[in-house]
């Protein structure tokens, strides 16, 4: 598993180089997200324009991807984000990365800009740059088919962009297969700027395993631990939609931008989906949990439409945030964003904001190309707005540069309602009542984002004796509490950094069940598969190194410090209007939030302004970065 190579590709010159990854580098950064962050910090020159030839696009497989690992399918795509100017990084499942590894590579470092559209063809140790003029303009479902037909191999896996990426929409995503998308931070926009339509991979090479018998036996044990659980059996049927009803009932769902924290219309329940539209579920590579839905709309306006998804997040971004209560519109909108290659999280957030402005009378039909953005009308306008954004047409062109820039352009106090952190659109939950969630979103290295740390188990009310065993320190069972929650976020950040670097799916970690694997289990798996002996403490140090490097990148590129680590003002002043007793009338206490920040920075070894301390850099061996080891 340690013998995959890095491919360096210059799109400007067409030059390709290959190099192996020294074990010493693996011991510092593992693979996937961790190694991508090292490559980003080292290969991107400070201040490079995200849409210029100086940006570096990284495609990485995790250290354990393709192995006998629960959910070992993940691909990590990184660059400097054109949306935020900070760490751009997105992570997706599917079948791409395993195939990349079978083709002999773990990481692709893609530099420069091509004059005309191209795609990369990666096959058993070789990388070829091919003309993609005929693919430019094709959607993300047509593109892989065309490439497979052209190369005569139906098992080629493709990562590609759609219209949004080609048109340089700042929150364009990258897509692979019928289902998977790397949505956040606009990596599709970076591909579009490089005129890189796709990366196609196919491989037949062996991936060696250090201790095959032990690896298989331990894999079996992990599978049983996960798949024999009640959580897994539910997840196998409902997928991530499982989280929708509890979140809504609790009152931590973000509705009408930030107008409500619970849906007053209950049309969007997972049950309705399963009954009316689901065709059963499928799995990503190496996953026994199979949480991906297949669906079909039988009749009506969208009759005959067939796709994969939706996730819990689909329902939030294209449902409650924009106050769309029609399941069929959610599915049709998801199908559309998939085809045109838009990040649905960012798209939902920005459309929810535009509708909020319209309903408050801040913008009107003269701004919106005559579209009526009344909340009651969202099912009618959602798909129209998504198309306009992807094609940069009329009002869509205003939104296509992201919420921060759109607010600047619109003015009229619209920025007060623009929900983002560091330029990345707000998550689909309303975290005003839950300080742990709020801290994670506020401090995340890629902007408002839950997947850097979300401690979903904090909502379970686990007793302190239990959390002490789970994390090694007690965490208050009260999700309204501020105390002990900085520690929890720090812990989860390290775990998810590790998980993203190994190429493992978060749904097979303590993200969704406290009995699922974490550091200890991964330490063993790494040993059986690679022979690298890395203790739990060593893994935490590696994760801390990677996370602090991300913070350092943000500081280097944009001077990110404490001032940037807050949620929008509304979260500290406006109480939640509905919910249960623990979530109604809640807003964040700024003084207590500041105390959390102090503790959080100290845990990372950053100063009170959120800047990594010189001694921390020495301890983490980051003081000589960029070190250009690879």
């Amino acid at each position: 598993m340690l013998h995959r190579k890095i491919g360096y590709i210059s799109l400007s010159s067409g030059q390709v180089k290959k190099a192996s990854i020294p074990e010493s580098v693996r011991r510092l950064y593992l693979g996937g997200r961790g190694l991508n962050m090292y490559l980003l910090f080292n290969h991107l020159e400070q201040g490079a324009d995200p849409l210029g030839p100086g940006n570096v696009l990284l495609v990485g497989a995790g250290l354990l991807t393709a192995g006998p690992v629960p959910g070992g399918s993940r691909t990590d795509v990184a660059a400097k984000s054109p949306l935020t100017g900070l760490v751009g990084d997105t992570n997706m499942g599917g079948f791409f990365s395993p195939e990349l590894r079978f083709a002999g590579f773990d990481h692709l470092v893609i530099k420069g800009v091509s004059e005309k559209p191209v795609y990369l063809w990666v096959r058993d140790g070789e990388i070829e740059m091919r003309d993609a003029t005929h693919l430019w303009g094709k959607d993300t479902l047509e593109t892989p088919e065309a490439i497979r037909a052209e190369l005569g191999d139906e098992d080629i896996k493709v990562l590609c962009i759609g219209a949004a990426g080609e048109n340089l929409v700042k929150f364009a995503n990258v897509r692979t297969g019928a289902k998977n998308a790397g949505g956040r931070t606009g990596m599709g926009c970076v591909m579009g700027s490089k005129k890189l339509k796709a990366v196609a991979v196919r491989g037949t090479l062996d991936i060696g395993v250090k201790y095959p018998r032990e690896a298989l036996e331990y894999y079996w044990q992990m599978q049983r631990k996960i798949l024999d659980s009640k959580t897994a059996s539910l997840f196998s049927v409902e997928g991530s939609l499982m989280q929708y009803n509890p979140t809504n009932t609790t009152g931590i769902l973000r509705v009408k931008n930030l107008g409500l924290n619970r849906m007053d219309d209950l049309s969007l329940t997972p049950d309705t989906f399963l009954e009316k539209y689901s065709l059963g579920s499928t799995a990503c590579f190496g996953c026994g949990m199979h949480c991906r839905h297949k669906w079909q709309i039988k009749d009506g306006k969208y009759g005959g439409l067939r796709g994969e998804g939706p996730e819990y997040y689909t329902l939030m971004a294209l449902g409650n945030v924009v106050y769309n209560t029609s399941w069929e519109t959610v599915l049709a909108a998801q199908y559309l964003v998939d085809k045109i290659g838009l990040d649905l999280a960012e798209a939902g957030n920005i459309i929810g904001w535009a509708m909020d402005l319209y309903n408050r009378g801040i913008i009107d039909k003269s701004d919106t190309d005559d579209l009526d953005l009344d909340w009651e009308n969202s099912s009618e306008v959602l798909l129209v707005l998504l198309e306009k954004i992807a094609n940069r047409e009329g009002f869509g062109a205003v939104l296509a540069d992201g919420i921060r820039m759109a607010a600047e352009r619109i003015g009229r106090g619209s920025d007060y309602y623009a929900l983002h952190v560091k330029g990345l659109g707000m998550v689909g939950t309303d975290d005003r009542a839950v300080p742990s969630l709020a801290l994670g979103v506020a401090t995340s290295t890629r902007g408002a984002d839950h997947l850097r740390s979300r401690p979903a188990t904090d909502l379970f009310g686990l007793p302190e004796e239990f959390t002490e065993k789970l994390y090694g320190f007690p965490v208050s069972s009260d999700y309204n509490a501020y105390q002990t929650k900085a520690k929890l976020i720090h812990y989860m950040e390290l775990l998810y950094e590790l998980v993203d670097s190994l190429g493992v799916c978060k749904y097979q970690t303590i993200f969704i069940s406290p009995t699922f694997p974490q550091f200890e289990e991964y330490s063993k798996l790494i040993y059986y598969l690679t022979g690298l002996g890395l203790s739990v403490d060593e893994l935490k140090t590696i994760a801390e190194r990677c996370y602090t490097l991300e913070r350092l990148f943000n500081y280097r590129e944009k001077g990110i410090t404490r001032n940037d680590d807050y949620l929008p003002d509304r979260y500290y002043t406006e109480p939640t209007p509905s919910g249960v007793s623990k979530t109604r009338g809640k807003f964040l206490d700024r003084a207590k939030f500041d105390e959390m920040l102090d503790e959080y920075y100290a845990l990372h070894g950053w100063d009170s302004n959120g800047v990594p301390k010189p001694e921390t850099l020495v301890e983490l061996r980051l003081d000589k970065e960029p070190s250009h080891m690879i």
């Binding site: 192995g67 006998p68 079978f102 479902l141 090479l205 199979h290």
Partner: protein
């Protein structure tokens, strides 16, 4: 006792765990192209169909093998491949109607499923039971039960007993 790997494509989620564990068990590496079982996918409709040797009674591979490297095992019914006799001519791979015979280019031999000596690893790891290892003599009744489930559904619907 004769046992067979029974495949139910409707239960297959396309996870390809069978390919990982097969190649790891048989070759000590991870490589789907060296797995005895492979999941064939039709992407646009998310259809996944596992394909593995069916241990045919009238096996074309046995008939075509010029050196007698393929033969039927008397008691288990398994189509056995003798690597020592195999000359790597690939005739068996060409005539197999399922594509269940693979080619090991480095060893210059073909390979096929040997049911892991009676405990197929792929079956053990198949979470949805799309793969089952069943006695050949009971297979028919199993399939009958599966087949008539459609009638019982219809009956329930007609008599209004269904929850829906």
């Amino acid at each position: 006792m004769e046992k067979v790997i029974l495949i139910d494509p409707e239960k297959c989620t396309g996870c390809r765990i069978c390919e990982i564990v097969c190649s790891l068990t048989k070759e000590g590496v991870i490589n789907p192209t060296r797995s005895r079982i492979q999941v064939v996918k039709v992407d646009p409709v998310s259809l996944s169909i596992p394909v593995v040797c069916q241990q045919c009674y009238d096996a074309p591979c046995i008939a075509v093998c010029p050196v007698g490297a393929l033969s039927r095992h008397g008691t288990t019914g398994m189509v056995n491949h003798d690597r020592d006799l195999c000359i790597g001519c690939k005739s068996c791979a060409a005539v197999c109607p399922f594509g269940a015979i693979g080619i090991d280019t480095s060893a210059e031999k073909v390979f096929k499923c040997d049911l892991c000596g009676g405990e197929p690893t792929c079956v053990k790891f198949c979470e949805t039971k799309a793969l089952e290892f069943v006695e050949a003599s009971t297979l028919s009744l199993r399939q009958k039960r599966k087949g008539i489930s459609k009638y019982t559904e219809l009956l329930q619907r007609d008599t209004g007993q269904s929850a829906a």
